[in-house]
Subunit: 80 residues, 2 copies
């Protein structure tokens, strides 16, 4: 089973990396980019057939390790 | 217009960050995780109405700045 986890900074949280990329795109001549936010994309391969159980486990992993829930939110997508 | 860019390490490219997370999940007691790969998830807000044009521009940005195409591949998703 493959799980995809998207970890993004919450709204209002300062994103210096995204701002740096935004500025750099500007200096490279790209017009029309108004905002860049950078997050993490995590692929987790898990064994087992029970999708609901795996998703619950993954939710716990996100809370405990994969995301810093003070400043980040996460979204889980399960696929085969 | 909002563009979502997923940057992932190519197959076979060593991912020390993913391995560290995988090991840590193991020591935390999570069984059944066989592989973890960590990539980037980038949201780019762009002005303009022409989606095809924006996507072409974004493709160029990925080649030049957002991804290291020697070791990374990227996927672009456009939304309103």
């Amino acid at each position: 089973m493959l799980a995809k986890v998207y970890v993004t900074l919450k709204k209002g949280v300062h994103d210096p990396q995204g701002e740096a990329v935004n500025r750099t795109l500007g200096t490279m001549g790209y017009k029309g980019v108004s905002d860049v936010r950078i997050g993490k994309y995590i692929e987790v391969k898990m064994s087992g057939d029970n999708q609901a159980e795996a998703e619950a486990k993954l939710d716990e992993m996100c809370e405990k390790l994969l995301a810093n829930t003070v400043i980040e939110s996460y979204r889980i997508e399960m696929s085969e």
